[in-house]
Symmetry: C2
Subunit: 417 residues, 2 copies
């Protein structure tokens, strides 16, 4: 049996720990050099495969690959690009096969979320439909935590830890200022369709913080919301609100789309947080501050969850192991086997059941009034944010690695995407 | 000589390390119980003194006081309240003297920025003008780093570390996505008049990141800015922009102005990031993301600078020592005595020279084009963000202390402020 090369690519929004999965893939492949030759990474995700823009990861030292474990972002570049169905776009699949053949690629590892699982599933079908043998394994990744079957998704635990910590810290701040100044703090977090990240903000309730969560899963009831905020301020002197970017009015419009105006009558630009903050100000007069965490939350490797880093690495390692065992069209998963003490193990899911399925917050994770999380949700979340895993620092800043990313020589004509 | 009690209060916007200064004051006072009786903290700053709402810190355990060192925010509450001049508001000064007399207070420690230094200076003059002996020492604190004489201000080093780290992490993120998605990332940071915090974002340049800074000190030149952004994206594929909330158009309008003012009469800002991001989008079509760090930056004790924590503590300790040595109307300062290796010691400054003086970024700290920082600025900044000083964690979150804050029994009639 001769060694086949492997292709690895990162897809969609990157996270604090997607490179830890890359580290798991590459380090595990290096341990099995008899069966896996080189790991070629797609420059900017699947686009790198289509354009034959491959990165030779064998040119990176063991130290550089090890440093991926604590480096946020996508070390090889990511992309937002979804392959159409085989029927609709045979040309791209044929091109992928050409590239795979030209570089003797027999393993395909795709590191992404729901859309990427769909792409990976399509690739996995190449063997049958186009007669080219390739084993495709999806490596789960998404801060949104919305993949099915797996208990949680690598990337989520770290963003949840960051949001819970930031909410706690900012709430302590507003509590200090509330007597004469700010009484309302609004933090906007990611999660276009699922409220998992927003839910993490609810963990500060156990630290005595009056907090309200606005989930995408719960229709926004402005009147009830404002009454509840007012009640919390009257009781505690202040209130923290964590709003998902995906929070919606009953008619389906995002809160962030609502065109509010500032004191000068200028239209306010973007963001659910300023919309919510101004809405409260208009109704109550309370002074507010708001923050939009945006990329900060998903890139915050300095505050990664140790559990998350370990799981991200394990998913990369398991993907290679599954491929070596002959599997195709699957995704390793995280199985929670015990709650207290928390224990997990690696499971597997068929890609046909993962692709294009979104997992929302179960209703029983959201409090009855729709503005908080339940004890069962806290039990779910807490193990995922457990443990710290600090990167090394140099001159006061994290010492993250930037790879050389040496290109593999092209063997094919150019391809327009 | 009998022991006099001390009054300590926190003023203005709180920081990640103002409680470390409180810790320094209280622990040092406890070491000198022969001369300092109890430390009474003002609940919600100077308002606590006016309303005789004092907190008896002797009711807190040594462990709780020690935990202040790693707890962000203002443990006793802060306020935005500036005393008028003695001539304009004799009533409040008379009230303060009544409260000081009623509780045998001979030491006044006020922990704040420029406005607070002014209040502290006024209090220091009570001895002479109103015949009541009190020693007033100001403990410097401000994330804005805009106090004069002192080399830097406690609170700044930690926010600088947070902003530099966050800018680095988010820039790695946008670099990953730039091929098919986001090319522009805009981070809005604090700094109403002085660009020190924004400057910290410039430190990522040494990590290969194309970054542009918009300082309050430099008039915003939209045309030149957009041309420079375009050039950076063409060269690097992406660009990060760090914009100070205080960035201004040539006519003096803030990019972010919302039209509301705080209790000191300062314009309340927020929202420069979406303005800048949309401006770039309109001119170039580049896809953008933006974040507003707001309270997250000044509350981020989880990423505090070790240097900053040590200096904050030392300022609190020195304030007590100065008072014991008989000083009045002064502020301990940080003196940089050596650059490499960085060494600093405690100095002192007369409050008459500190009050109401703002220190801006020197022009030689800003690059010639106005959009970056110079090597001399980097030399200034790097020691201040040096070292990590992580808080303890429990269940995945920092274990910050909330004090009991037991009230001292009132001895005076109520007072309306």
């Amino acid at each position: 049996m001769t060694a086949k090369n492997a292709f690895y690519a990162q897809s969609g929004g990157v996270t604090a720990v997607i490179n830890a999965s890359a580290c798991g893939v590459i380090e595990t492949a290096r341990l099995h050099s008899v069966r896996i030759g080189k790991v070629y990474a797609g420059r900017n995700g699947i686009i790198g495969a289509l354009t034959e823009d491959l990165i030779d990861t064998s040119r990176e030292s063991d130290e550089a690959i090890a440093a991926l474990r604590y480096t946020p972002s996508g070390a090889f570049g990511s992309c937002r690009y979804k392959l159409k169905s085989l029927e609709a776009n045979k040309r791209e699949y044929e091109r992928l096969i050409e590239v795979f053949k030209a570089h003797d690629i027999g393993y395909f590892f795709y590191n992404g979320g729901g859309d990427s699982a769909d792409t990976c599933y399509k690739i996995s079908q190449l063997s049958e439909t186009m007669g080219y043998p390739v084993q495709a394994v999806h490596v789960p990744k998404t801060v949104d935590n919305d993949l099915p079957i797996t208990d949680n998704c690598p990337g989520f635990g770290s963003v949840a830890k960051y949001i819970a910590t930031s909410t706690l810290e900012a709430s302590f701040d507003v509590r200090s200022m509330a007597k004469t100044s700010t009484k309302i703090f609004v933090l906007e977090v990611m999660g276009r369709h699922a409220g998992w990240i927003a839910a993490a903000g609810g963990l500060v309730e156990d630290h005595g913080i009056p907090v309200m969560i606005l989930f995408p899963e719960i229709e926004f009831d402005q009147e009830r919301f404002l009454a509840a905020v007012k009640q919390k301020v009257e009781q505690h002197g202040y209130c923290t609100i964590v709003v998902s970017e995906g929070a919606k009015y009953p008619d389906g419009r995002f809160l962030a789309e609502q065109g509010t105006r500032d004191a000068f009558g200028h239209a306010q630009l973007g963001g659910a947080a300023p919309v919510v903050a101004n809405m409260i100000k208009d109704a109550t007069g309370y002074k507010f501050h708001w923050a939009v965490a945006d990329y900060l939350q998903r890139a915050a490797r300095h505050l990664a969850s140790k559990t998350d880093v370990e799981q991200a690495y394990a998913m990369g390692r398991a993907a290679v192991q599954f491929a070596l065992e002959g599997h195709n069209a699957i995704m390793p998963t995280i199985k929670r086997v015990s709650q207290d003490p928390y224990r997990w193990e690696v499971g597997e899911a068929p890609l046909s059941e993962v692709a294009n399925v979104e997992k929302f917050m179960p209703r029983e994770f959201i409090s009855e009034d729709g503005f908080g999380i339940t004890p069962v949700c806290k039990d779910y979340l807490i193990p995922l944010i457990q443990g710290e895993d600090y990167p090394p620092f140099e001159k006061g800043l994290p010492k993250y690695v930037t790879l050389k990313n040496v290109a593999v020589e092209k063997r094919l004509p150019a391809f327009e995407i």
